[in-house]
């Protein structure tokens, strides 16, 4: 159980036009599970490779348990990487795969056997020792990979999109398993994902990474609800961004003047609101604060909910409405939208 | 880095490591020419001698690597390393290459079986150790005044090589197919014209094919005397006109109408053995006996020489200027001349190559042993050959004839 500190990491791959990671700072308290979320190609995996020692940073420091990692080879860092592709060694049995790290450390075979059995119990695959990787299902393979990573009791567990190749059902199971295993072992874990829901679901802390830089870091709910910057907000799914002029607790936007729940920070340039936080009501009544008349431009059925695009003044808003609430509406119907002040988040950038 | 560097470097060093030959303290060239032979024997003891010779006959190989090597080891403690080559020209080439590369000492070749233009090339290039030959103790059994010993294809030997064997040209036929072979060149040529497709000869510069062409040349020139002595362009031109004309006219009657020729004597031998043609020939008639014994020729093979004369030569051993083990080479050259070793080599059961010694210089018992050696029925009697022997042309003549053949007949 170790604290991991990343200090202004920068890494540029040879021949690449810009750095994959730039001035990246992150503090992972010991024993926590942090998710690192960002779009594809933002440099998340590079951060993991840098921590694992599979790539060397051009600048910056990595501290694991207070130890600077510069020049320490991967096998001596105690940081185990587990990827989306389970990367089980195809020429070894499940037991040999799980026991690999221990074998490399010269651990007594009897000890290896018992630890392997324990780990397979933990990942709920008891008795599969003699199987070959090719005889496993995708979910099983991923569990074996998790067991293989955990068995060496690493200081840090680095998970690189471990769920993205799994079916939706399995994803949830595996997510729970990872969460449980992390709790049980207390291994400091960095979990990389591009799925923002996953990112906030399992984590103690969530970090958002955009274009090689750390954009936001905090408790999952904070990051989700209070993105602080336009880019983070967009990435976290706050589709509606309204530029505006701030004046005390009100802001003038293209759809009208909105009232905020709290005074905005001075650097705020826009407000954002998530589609599911906007309320839609029939008719054109515009009574109440932050309520505007609009008309429905399109309706898109999404199963659990309906996504409505509404025209409000000169702008468009995207609204997510529970399916049954949307039942009475049709394209072209006049409606009223209400933007609750507490759901409006001022952002900068 | 998947492979530790020290392993790579270690293997590289291993691969590049040169074999360091242990050598006895070498005698100077002068010492080799002047010192008592015992000194040379002492200097050679425990050493090695690399003997280069044609390696395509397992009987020769077995003789050299077997009894000869054993005798050298037993008597002098010298290890004989036989190096078989496909063509003696390769050895000449090796020595030329070494000279060109500036390898003036520690050369690969200690002793080489050689004669003719190969000898001339090395001698004129100054690439041989000279002046020791007649000083070898066993040199007293050799008649150095015999022109066929003193001149190697017209090149004076000058103590630069030591005679080993004598050879005379003979033709072979299959008595089951050809009752009575034509015994003069004129009759032979008539036979060829009368039996189209049943004769061919190996294309010069094959050693034996070239010898056959020289026989035709001497016939066309009206006898060996016309071509004797040093090379003369006018005499050559006159003879060439007739000889190449004759060979050209012969082509339609040859195997495959003379469009192509066997490239070496082995091919001609196979054509003969499989009755594709009715004659083969060789500068060393014991080959016919050996060939019957090892299944290369039919049992009914017999041999003969032209009544109007057959070429004779001597083959020698020589020591290159840069030989690494000159003393051991001299000891071996001397040993090859010993009557006992010459007798063993002349035995058809061992090899059958005719001796280079002058029997008159041996004890009567020794001489009798040579005369009493058995003869294979396929091999022409030595006295039949000796009667008809003609001296070889000089190497210049030889080269001009070969070159002319390639240009005028071969293509």
């Amino acid at each position: 159980m170790s604290r991991i500190v990343l200090e202004s990491l920068t890494k540029t791959y040879p021949g690449a036009p810009r750095p994959a990671v730039r001035g990246f700072d992150l503090d992972l308290p010991a024993g926590t599970l942090t998710t690192l979320v960002g779009p594809s190609g933002c440099g998340k995996s590079t951060v993991l490779r840098l921590i694992a020692g599979l790539a060397e940073p051009d600048a910056g420091r990595i501290l694991i348990g207070g130890q600077p990692m510069a020049g320490i080879p991967p096998e001596r860092r105690g940081a185990v990487l587990m990827g989306q592709d389970h990367r089980l060694f195809p020429h070894m049995s499940v037991a040999e795969n799980v026991g690999f790290g221990l074998r490399m450390r010269g651990v007594d075979p009897a000890v290896i056997r018992s630890k392997v059995a324990d780990m397979l119990d933990l990942v709920q695959l008891p008795g599969l020792e003699s199987r070959r990787p090719s005889e496993l299902s995708g979910g099983q393979a991923q569990r074996v990979a998790l067991a293989r990573a955990l068995v060496v009791e690493p200081a840090v567990l680095l998970l690189d999109e471990p769920l993205s190749d799994l079916d939706p059902e399995l994803r949830l199971d595996m997510r729970d398993l990872i969460r449980r295993a992390q709790h049980q072992t207390g291994i400091t874990t960095l979990f990389v994902t591009h799925d923002r829901e996953e990112a906030v679901a399992v984590a103690d802390r969530t970090a958002v990474m955009l274009a090689g830089e750390l954009a936001r870091h905090g408790r999952p709910a904070d990051v989700f609800e209070r993105p602080l910057t336009r880019a983070v907000a967009l990435f976290m799914g706050a589709t509606n961004v309204l530029d505006g002029r701030f004046d005390g607790r009100s802001v003038t936007t293209s759809i009208g003047t909105l009232t905020l729940a709290a005074p905005p920070p001075p650097e705020a340039t826009a407000v954002v609101i998530r589609p599911e936080r906007i309320r839609l009501s029939a008719g054109s009544g515009t009574s109440g604060v932050n309520t505007f008349a609009c008309s429905i431009k399109s309706l898109e059925y999404r199963g659990t909910h309906v996504v409505a695009t509404v025209a409000a003044a000169t702008d468009m808003l995207v609204v997510a409405v529970p399916a049954e609430a949307a039942a009475g509406h049709g394209v072209g119907d006049p409606v009223a939208v209400h933007l609750p002040p507490e759901a409006l988040q001022p952002v900068s950038g | 880095m998947p492979i530790p560097r020290r392993i790579v470097l270690g293997l590289l060093a291993g691969a590049l490591a040169l074999p360091v030959a242990a050598r006895a303290a070498p005698l100077s060239e002068d010492a080799l020419r002047t010192a008592p032979f015992e000194t040379i024997v002492e200097a050679a003891r425990g050493g090695t001698v690399n003997f280069f010779l044609w390696g395509g006959d397992d009987r020769i190989n077995a003789y050299v690597s077997g009894p000869l090597a054993e005798a050298l080891k037993a008597e002098y403690g010298i290890t004989l390393n036989r190096v078989g080559v496909a063509d003696t020209a390769e050895v000449v080439n090796q020595i030329l290459s070494e000279q060109e590369a500036g390898v003036t000492d520690g050369g690969a070749v200690d002793l080489v079986w050689i004669n003719g233009e190969n000898f001339r090339t090395l001698k004129t290039g100054g690439l041989l150790l000279c002046g020791y030959a007649e000083r070898l103790p066993n040199a007293r059994f050799v008649d150095w005044s015999d022109p066929s010993i003193a001149n190697d294809f017209g090149t004076p030997v000058d103590g630069c090589e030591v005679p080993w064997s004598k050879a005379r040209f003979a033709l072979a036929y299959d008595s089951a197919r050809t009752a009575e072979p034509p015994k003069t060149m004129a009759a032979f040529l008539d036979w060829v014209r009368a039996n189209p497709g049943r004769f061919t000869y190996a294309a010069p510069p094959d050693f034996n094919g070239s010898a056959f062409v020289r026989h035709v040349f001497m016939h066309a020139a009206g006898g060996a005397e016309a071509l004797s002595g040093p090379f003369d362009q006018a005499r050559f031109d006159a003879a060439a006109e007739k000889a190449y004309g004759l060979l050209d006219d012969l082509e339609p009657f040859l195997w495959r109408e003379g469009r192509t020729y066997p490239t070496d004597i082995a091919q001609l031998n196979q054509l003969f053995a499989n009755s594709e043609v009715d004659f083969t020939f060789n500068y060393e008639p014991t080959v016919f006996g050996a060939g019957v014994a090892d299944g290369r020729f039919p049992e009914t093979t017999r041999s003969f020489a032209f009544d109007d004369g057959t070429l004779a030569n001597t083959s020698y051993v020589a020591v290159p200027f840069n030989a690494a083990n000159k003393a051991a080479a001299l000891v071996l050259a001397n040993h090859l001349l010993s009557p006992a070793e010459q007798l063993r080599k002349a035995d058809p059961a061992v090899w059958g190559m005719a001796t280079a010694l002058d029997l008159d210089r041996l004890t009567p018992a020794e001489a009798e042993a040579f005369r009493a050696l058995p003869r294979h029925p396929a091999v022409i009697a030595d006295e039949d050959l000796a009667d008809r022997a003609m001296a070889e042309l000089s190497a210049d003549w030889l080269e001009a004839i070969e070159k002319g053949w390639i240009e005028r007949v071969g293509r």
Partner: protein, 288 residues
Amino acid sequence: MPASIRLALMLLPAVVVLGGLFLGGLVLAIIRTVGIVPFAGRFDPTLEPWTRALQEPDLLLSILVTLWVAAASTLIATALGVGAALLLHRAGGGRLVTLLVQFNLTVPHVVTAVGMAWLLGQSGVLARLAHGAGAIDRPGDFPALVNDPWFVADIVAYVAKEVPFVAVVALAMLAAVGSAPAITARCLGATPLQAFRHVTWPLIRPGILAAATVVFAFVLGTYEVPAVLGPSHPKALPVLAYQMFTSNDIADRPAAIVVSLLMAAVGVVCLVAVRRLMRGISGLEVVR
């Protein structure tokens, strides 16, 4: 270790070895033909070896027959090799069949040449069978295939040797392409022949052409096969070069190098071609 140094260490041994031995040897050969032998400290610039070699009366004919043998062998070997691969691919030839096809890969050229001489010669096995069947009387009645000016036995020997090589490459290409494209073509209405002609062949062609180029260049430079099976005249280029190199006349040697350099020049033309053809096959182009 920085990645660039690691990379250099991976490449360096091969580059040094090939650069030193291959390029070094080639450069030494070239400068020697103009009279420079650095290791013997000789420096007498001259073009004599070039004029000597180019005046060699058989040179042009030798070049032509060598090209003829290489072209004919390559064409036939490639066609048969691809055919064998298709058959093996389809019939899924057992391990034994595959091993037998590959058997010739293990046979040194000199052995194949010798065997071919004994098989195809006018008194060889086939001639004897023909005699046994009453088709010929004397060896001379059997067609002259060995040592003939058309190099028939040479070509047959190369074909026998190189078919397995082409087949192995073609099998690998076929395995890489898989049967899906051809099946798709068949589903779209192509006949088996059309499917091969328009779909499978274009996909495997680069590999086949590369293999054919290697075969061509190899045949161009091989000494032992024409030495055993070629006629006394004209001589294949490698035979001519080797005979000149081992000639008793030391002045012939740089000329021999000129002849083998001419051979290499043809090889370089092949290299340019193969570089174009190699695109898309072999690991060289598959870069992460």
